[in-house]
């Protein structure tokens, strides 16, 4: 069905459902699963990126460290030990741009992502409310391949009056 599936990781639990879907689809399709994480660059004039240690220069060490964290976080959710068909990619920049750039370059046939991420935990959206973030909006509108945005059950809209 699919040959290359791109999962957009943000290391927040809210996108775990998206990851589970991406993994399931990759296993069924025997597709390569690529996990991409983009460290946001706030100063779009320089190579500084936002990490858990604050705003730092996007050096090889920073990207390698993040690759290790991603591996630990997502590989623990895969049954197979050291899965061969899974690749981890880290970039710096504007997330939706780097996701689209990578997807085009690698000719991926499916992008799977959560419906939002938390840029600033202090100003982040209320996670229990349905919300479509900028990255999900832009990727959905602009990608030339299929895009799945997967919400967590807490986020699903219903028709009940609140």
């Amino acid at each position: 069905m699919y040959k290359k599936i791109l999962f957009c990781a943000d290391l927040y639990a809210s996108s775990d459902y998206a990851f589970a879907s991406a993994l399931d689809l990759a296993e069924r399709s025997k597709a390569e699963l690529i996990i991409i994480h983009v460290l946001e660059s706030r100063h779009r004039y320089s190579g500084q990126v936002i990490t858990e240690d604050g705003e730092v220069w996007g050096s090889e060490e920073v990207f390698d460290k993040l690759k290790g964290v991603l591996k630990e976080y997502y590989f623990s959710r895969i049954e197979e030990e050291n899965p061969e068909n899974v690749r981890i990619v880290v970039r710096g920049g504007v997330p939706w741009i780097e996701i689209l750039r990578f997807a085009r370059k690698e000719k991926v046939d499916l992008i799977v992502m959560g419906s939002y991420t938390i840029k600033d935990p202090k100003k982040g959206p209320k996670v229990e409310k349905p919300y479509l973030g900028e990255n999900a909006q832009q990727v959905t509108l602009r990608a030339r391949c299929q895009v799945f945005t997967v919400t967590s059950p807490k986020q699903q809209l219903n028709f009940k009056r609140e």
């Binding site: 100063h43 004039y45 504007v94």
Partner: protein
């Protein structure tokens, strides 16, 4: 303000090297300027650093050049690390080389040039902001300040042309076309962080029926080496752009909406690149000029229903308006597009620097707090207009005002000229994709 900044090396000071730089620059102009300043203080009130920081006399331009370059000459280059550390804070952290003070100096002393020379001395001793130094490594390795490969650049152009297929029929982003009228050069921030800017430029050029091309190399018109004080590299950077235009036989080099790129390409670059008469080998045109001509000549028309209703103001980039002379063109474009234009006070060549110029933004987070503090003047100017949209033809102003918008809760939208032109221009029928034509 000089506290809390780190510089990169503790190597012994090379006095010989400093003397060489001072000697090369020890011409009549600098000697006169250093001697003629009468400490009248008129420059102080022209400086936004001074105004934003409770009129601290240590931030008056006269004090800044006297205590840096002036002292360097007085000490005949015999400087120590402590002195260079003090200079570091002043030449990079307290001056954006916006040249506003020169306009208010009764003698016309070019303080920015002296600060730039002091930067060159600091640079020669390894005393420079880390953020700027990193961009210089990229210039050396890849020819652009963000280290983008030629392959990635070309792919980004192709990607943007693909995205536009649904909006404009037959749109392309030509690469290395021989003999084009304009070789369009950009700020690497566009292909890296705002690729849609390339797409918007392509839309405008297609609608205007322009004969243009992008170069596969020499496409970065910025020159942060110029702000870092590395004159040799600054010359190399601008020369690669000139050489590419000559190779392609382009009639003119078109500079994107970037202020310092225009200053580099049109005014300082020729000297840096070894054109001793100060004239670039290919004519330099800024986007503001060309976009204005498109409206003036009817090559682009505005859809009357899309003219902006909300109040709009215009941020004059120092290197486009004051130092580039193009302060009317941007306003004339806005006249075509917006109904309610509100100028800042002061404006045109008298406008204040946004506070992010002179390499301030790429210097990185180390300089952010003082950048925000000094931007108070610009934030106040914007607020006073009551505008909801700030238009500026400079990437640097765009980033700084975006940051100020958050810091000072200005509640404005920051936009480039390209963005508002694309939102309001009429797409001629022959360029409309089939399905859009059907809807019409």
């Amino acid at each position: 303000m000089s506290k809390n900044l780190n510089y990169t090396t503790e190597q012994p000071v090379n006095v010989e090297k400093i003397r060489k730089i001072l000697d090369v620059n020890n011409g009549a102009r600098i000697r006169t300027w250093l001697n003629i300043c009468s400490r009248c203080g008129l420059c102080a009130d022209s400086c936004f650093f001074y105004l934003a920081n409770n009129k601290d006399p240590l931030l008056s331009p006269a004090y800044k050049f006297k205590t840096t370059l002036g002292e360097m000459y007085r000490k005949k280059g015999n400087l120590d690390r402590e002195f260079l550390k003090k200079c570091y804070g002043i030449v990079w952290g307290e001056c954006t080389t916006c040249k506003r003070c020169s306009m208010y100096c009764p003698f016309g002393i070019d303080i920015a040039t002296m600060i730039s020379t002091a930067r060159t001395v600091c640079w020669s001793q390894g005393v420079f902001p880390e953020g700027l130094a990193r961009t210089l490594t990229y210039y050396q390795e890849t020819g652009n300040q963000m280290g983008m490969s030629e392959e990635d650049f070309i792919e980004t152009c192709e990607w943007m042309a693909e995205e536009l297929e649904d909006e404009i029929r037959g749109v392309t982003i030509p690469i290395d076309k021989q003999g084009a009228k304009y070789m369009y050069t950009v700020n690497p921030r566009e292909p890296v962080y705002y690729p849609q800017d390339l797409g918007m430029a392509a839309q405008i050029f297609t609608v205007a029926g322009e004969d243009w091309t992008m170069p596969s190399s020499g496409w970065d018109c910025t020159n942060l080496a110029m702000f870092a004080g590395d004159r040799e590299l600054a010359g190399k950077v601008v020369r690669s752009m000139y050489d590419k235009a000559l190779e392609l036989g382009a009639e003119k080099i078109l500079i994107t909406e970037c202020g310092h790129a225009y200053r580099s390409a049109a005014f300082e670059g020729p000297y840096l690149a070894g054109y001793t008469e100060g004239k670039p080998p290919v004519q330099i045109v800024h986007s503001v000029q060309l976009f204005y001509e498109y409206f003036r000549d009817g090559r682009i028309r505005v859809d009357p229903d899309k003219r902006i209703e909300e109040p709009v103001t215009y941020q004059d980039p120092c290197n486009v308006s004051r130092n580039g002379g193009l302060w009317e063109e941007g306003r004339k474009i806005i006249d075509y597009i917006a109904k309610d234009f509100r100028d800042m006070t002061p404006n045109r060549e008298h406008n204040h620097c946004c506070g992010g110029g002179g390499g301030f933004i790429p210097m990185g987070p180390e300089f952010r707090s003082r950048r925000m503090a000094s931007g108070r003047v610009k934030a106040g100017q914007i607020k006073a207009t009551g505008a909801k949209i700030v238009i500026t033809p400079c990437h640097n102003c765009f980033d700084q005002i975006t940051d100020l918008n958050e810091e000072y809760d200005l509640g404005v939208k920051v936009a480039s000229l390209k963005e508002i032109i694309c939102e309001s221009m009429v797409i001629p029928d022959h360029l409309k994709p089939e399905q859009v034509k059907d809807q019409d």
